[in-house]
Symmetry: D2
Subunit: 457 residues, 4 copies
């Protein structure tokens, strides 16, 4: 890996934060582990890897051990000096504009987050405080635009999908774009890129200037899922919970494309919120879709929702197979209802204040064997609480599959033991097995999948 | 074909000509064959067929026999009322913006052409008069922009190519777009679309707003090669000769992708001009390129140039196989030389006044059997005149293959007889046979190709 | 006058026509009297004198005998090279942007007019042909904007008025600007400047970007009434009749401020049109206004209208004294009616096609002693025809006062003899005497006024 | 005063802060003295009084006792509901756009200041902390623009000056504007308005879109010096010291026009900074100017600087009498040197980080009799410290003249006693007497001026 081509360059800001105080510059220059600099360096490296989607996080960081990024305050504003940066971020020696833009978006968010924490402005003890924090971060990134009609469609799904599924996401994005809708994703490859690409072409056809391709990420994932270069608004939230909250408060509707355990976790996160009694009347268009070849996946997931969370949960989530235009029409219709609802309730178009997000969804879940074994996967609880428990189960499986710490725990203690009511355990077992059979439980190596869990009933 | 879906709609202008005098409106309302209305109706129908690239001209016109388009002068400007229009031009009942724009571009060009002819402004008897006419038409369409550095790359090639070749044109377009270059094509499908699509994505990545995707067409071809929806500047020139002159005066460099006899005709047109002694010092980057699979095609074409027109002609034309980035770098370099040359000679960046175009290239060639038999395909003439003769040979073959009148002539009199020096006839015969073998001599039906010519030596 | 400061400079286009054909450049370089060049030189000199409002045309032209202006076609478009140009058009060696813009507007209009005439496009024999000509000229100057709500207020009045009257026009312009209205004038000093200045400040307060300050002039007057630098759209019409027609077809309402015989001529021109039976229902807000000190002037003019053309004519013309806000409110209200009317009749917002302008208003009146003596100033004719006759009387008086040829005629043959019905002659005599008493019959010298007319009854 | 015309209205944001969190809205709704609401209400009332420049602060607040302003969070963003607001802020029922914009600028600054204080972010104990605070406030107001060449000219002087002086400031502003320079003032009437008005017209002539008219104010003065409506960027700093620091860090040069004791205070503030040894090499163009009639004022002030602070201080400050073009040329030249200096030192164009401002200039001076008597007005100290002492003397006189608390102190204890070296006391006495003689020591009433000080030597 030492032979990666690198380059040196100096770049000036484009788009975002262009002025820094001397103190902010000073802070960013203090290197050392745990420093703001270390965080920024890591995010910057991921951004510079835009487009090279085969890498996982660790690999990227290790591939450019000499990479350095320095901040200078000059007459016309700040400059970034890059040493030993990935050469692919440049065309004939000049950095691609979108990469340059994202670099400064990253800088902006890291400076802001740092300054908020330093000043103890955030009240992490209250649900309201956390929501406020997400709001301020998004406002500082100029993501919240007053006066604009709701039109942001969040697309969730796998970053590593089949070629047919990828093409399908492009066509859906194209149909959304033809109807003037904007796209928001987790900003990596796969489902995070296809809809943006399709929408770009459609926006060009519709002569829409200023179409938005919003990417929401977090430092822990950005290296593994480097922002694709279509993203024209990048926001780095501090962790996964803030990122998920940002998705549901900023998006006006959500489309679920094929994915794996991570996608299931996201779906359960969203259903857990929508099924909360306080949110019963809040409209939120949610569509599951894929090409014909993804029919088994979509049907199994939908059936699983029905078996575990019931008919109401299923109704919250429309399934449309192989009909991109219909997906777009349904989404446009659903967003009209959102618009109407917000107008009546005087809720902001740009931030979904009315949506109740329980503190249990705002706090991280630590996937120890003890916590996994202790999950309450029974029917004797409100359905939205069961959704929260299921979401944690999937969160643990994701960790056991791909996250450094999770893998180590599995190595030490063997697979997680997941127990509960048979009416829940059986569908869960079947769903997970289907994921395995469809090769959606991906391992970095590509070898045969050895489950990190045991479903007991 | 009677079952095509149609729709009625009223649209207001976007982009172009928004005000008409009462007299202009009146003229456009006078129907009848040979009328301005008939011409506009035909172009409008082609534009509304944007994207449905499988049709030939006649089919389209026949598929919508009830189509009508009316012009109204209202308070806020003109409106077009469409009856029985192709439904595919609309998304949920609203016309796609690019189509709307092109409709009014067409109107603009037809009104202008008509008014020029009516006022006998054009001096068709002099080469200078014809060039002036092309200039005025392009200026009226706001195609000529002063103060902009040269960056328009013309892409020529077939409208019906292999999927691999199509992908390759997209990648080349992407590399051109990353370097800030704009695209100009004949505005149909295939090679006319791919580079524009690639450049659209690249321009988005480079945050280039106002990237130009210029389509030059003419009423005789627009129905067969409906403008693709990426085109954001459409100009309808009155005939094929004006269109070819527009390409070489507006473009700053030309790329030849795989195609058939039509592409060979274009290449010979351009070489005939570049080989004129007056143009010896005029820089004009010209690149032939294609994916690996197109190597035979490219090599045969290049060899043919060498055998017939000699080494100088070959040197005017660089061949690059399967290296999109290199194509873009070479083109960018060549355009820099063009810029330098124009600055030194005080020639306009936006119109190549200095290029000498012989009247023989400005006047149409009528492909009768007599004219074809009378072509002077010998070495006893200046090389640029031989190029002109060869271009006519290909022009005749194209007509005999696909144009209504040419086909009729062949049916009556049998294949064209083409004679000349053996040193020219043999390479010509080989090239044409190669086109046949590679299925580049396409017939509307798709049946086995029966040549419309006989090469005698 | 030989000591005027001059400067040399090269300027590139701003705003208008940026591309010329080689032939157009060639034409503009052919000097000689009667040439296009001579016309352009004269207009250019006037434009470069912007702001120096004390000069009459002859003086300006004589003050810069060595002034020359050359046109070059360069790589980035055309350039103008100025030799011995008035130094006041420059700030620290750089030409003021508005002057630069107007220079190229002038070039644009002169090139266009020339090309129209050369091609015999205009049909000067029909009223419709002349109107079409005015339309095309304005369209070529991009003055006609589709889709914009009516908001152009024409301000007429003297170019040499009292300081109090000038201030008043500024305040009226300010009130118009606060209501989002744009200003159109004859583009010189006095009433032609004040409203634009006031509106500029008001548009700044209302954050209106793109407020329009439209100046319509003609080669015969531009030198005497050099465009003021607020004008941001300058159009040079070929003669006074085309200019007047442009005013009434482009403006949505007209305000008459204090002036002299010229202003009376304009008022009678407009009333002659509005009183035509075909125009009876066409709404056209027309307001006469001035500060308190102008009361006698306004009342006399209004009374004269009543005595000669009757009550209907008076009702077409509202008098508001010393109440700028009320003037603006009335105008805004009137323009709303215009909007409503055009919408109902499908007439263009940007060009008043429905207004009937009799050919007698489109053709110039030659003020010979014979023609003046032959005017039919009697009641035995339709009132709009009487208005046309009266307008000619004032036109002759203006000529006898200030135009070169008129003055010479008076010197040779003595004052004009104007005869007619006593009921018309007496009010006419009184009005003219009032103009004399109020020093509104200005002579270049400033000496006591000797009338160029004798009113007989 | 009860008869002032008022109106009710609801307005939506223009330009600034358009999104607020629910908590921010909540805070702004909590009324009560000392509340954020009370502060915002007071600033809003001043802004709504834009243009009515005869009022002092107290009068305005008392004239609209029923005025209320409520904040609502609606679907498209926040709305302000105004009850019993001054009718002059509206044209035909609609609020003037600039007023609307300033209202939301005020809201933005007050929300920001409040949030900074609440979070104890600001370190008021260090000079660096205070400077950082000013920087953050200006950045939040989007006043700091990276990449823009230095061009901001600060204009200081009286808000109540003679008509001739006011005209002069307009002409100077016009000359500055012709050279592309922007204007920054204290945003009230008089010298704070004239240059902006002149520059607006000049920017229109130069077709400069986006000319900046920056007004810096503070809650204590905004009511007395309501922002004039030309201001298109309003920033409300929390107090006078932050405001002065903002002027010298954001401005690239300063012009002093005629004024009174307040203007002298500002001049001494600036000289005190420029004379600091650390700033010796920092270029900072400083020009005193006025019309011919202001010659005595300018000469006395300049002489006073010479007598007290010496020749070096005089050299820092160029005097130009009655030559607006020369003022603009000098300023443009000086700013070029500033640009050069910042480039060499890598200091930001948008914020003068390199200028050393001693903490004594950042902390408020309380003008008690004791403090005034204790001023060290002797030669036995560095000249920049003497400037600081003199600045305090003038600060006290301003307070004794016009500020509520100062006037009360004078009523209780009689005039301030100011002592010091005779070489300083005599020039000071003469200068103050000249101010009195020239009616520059204005009292709200307009009665004869009774000095609030006694200069002893």
């Amino acid at each position: 890996m030492a032979s990666r081509k690198t380059t040196n360059a100096t770049v000036s800001p484009k788009g975002s934060l262009e002025t820094l105080s001397q103190r902010e510059v000073q802070q960013l220059r203090e290197t050392g582990s745990g420093s703001v600099y270390a965080l920024f360096r890591q995010c910057a490296l991921a951004i510079l890897n835009t487009g090279s989607n085969s890498d996982n996080a660790k690999t990227i960081l290790e591939a450019y051990p000499d990479f350095e990024i320095l901040i200078h305050q000059l007459d016309r504003g700040i400059r970034l000096e890059l040493c030993n940066a990935p050469a692919d971020a440049f065309v004939d020696g000049e950095m691609i504009a979108s990469t340059r833009e994202m670099l400064f978006s990253g800088l902006r968010d890291i400076v802001y987050t740092q300054s908020e924490l330093e000043n103890k402005r955030v009240d992490f003890n209250s649900s309201q405080g956390i929501t406020d924090y997400v709001f301020h971060l998004l406002r500082n990134a100029r993501t919240l635009r007053a006066g604009v009609e709701p039109n942001i469609v969040v697309c969730w799904g796998g970053h590593s999908i089949s070629s047919e599924e990828y093409k399908y996401t492009k066509i859906v994005g194209h149909e959304l774009g033809l109807r003037g809708l904007d796209i928001c994703t987790g900003c990596g490859p796969g489902v995070m890129k296809g809809p943006m690409k399709g929408a770009t072409i459609a926006h060009a056809k519709q002569r829409i200037i200023g179409g938005r391709y919003l990417g929401l990420t977090e430092p822990g994932i950005i290296a593994a899922e480097a922002p694709n270069p279509i993203v024209n608004e990048l926001v780095i939230l501090p962790d996964i919970e803030k990122r998920l909250e940002a998705f549901v408060r900023v998006g006006h509707g959500i489309i679920i494309f094929p994915g794996g355990a991570g996608t299931a976790e996201e779906l359960l996160y969203l259903l857990g919120i929508l099924l909360h009694p306080d949110n019963r009347e809040v409209p939120f268009p949610l569509i599951m879709t894929g090409p014909k070849s993804a029919t088994p996946y979509l049907e199994q997931l939908h059936a699983f929702i029905g078996h575990t969370l019931g008919a109401e949960a299923q109704q919250r989530c429309k399934v449309i197979i192989n009909d991109p235009a219909q997906v777009a029409r349904e989404m446009a219709k659903g967003i009209k209802e959102v618009t109407q609802f917000r107008r009546e309730r005087s809720d902001a178009y740009h931030f979904n204040w009315l949506l109740k997000i329980d503190e249990s969804f705002q706090r991280p879940f630590e996937p120890t064997h003890e916590n996994m074994a202790g999950l309450n996967l029974t029917r004797e609880q409100p359905v939205h609480e069961l959704a929260a428990q299921l979401r944690r189960a999937f969160s643990g499986i994701v960790a056991g599959n791909v996250k450094v710490q999770g893998i180590r725990l599995i190595e030490e203690h063997g697979p997680y033991q997941i127990t509960g009511d048979p009416q829940i355990m059986q569908p869960l077992g079947r769903l997970l097995q289907a994921f395995v059979d469809q090769h959606r439980m991906k391992l970095p190596g590509g070898s045969a999948y050895v489950p990190c869990y045991r479903v007991l009933s």
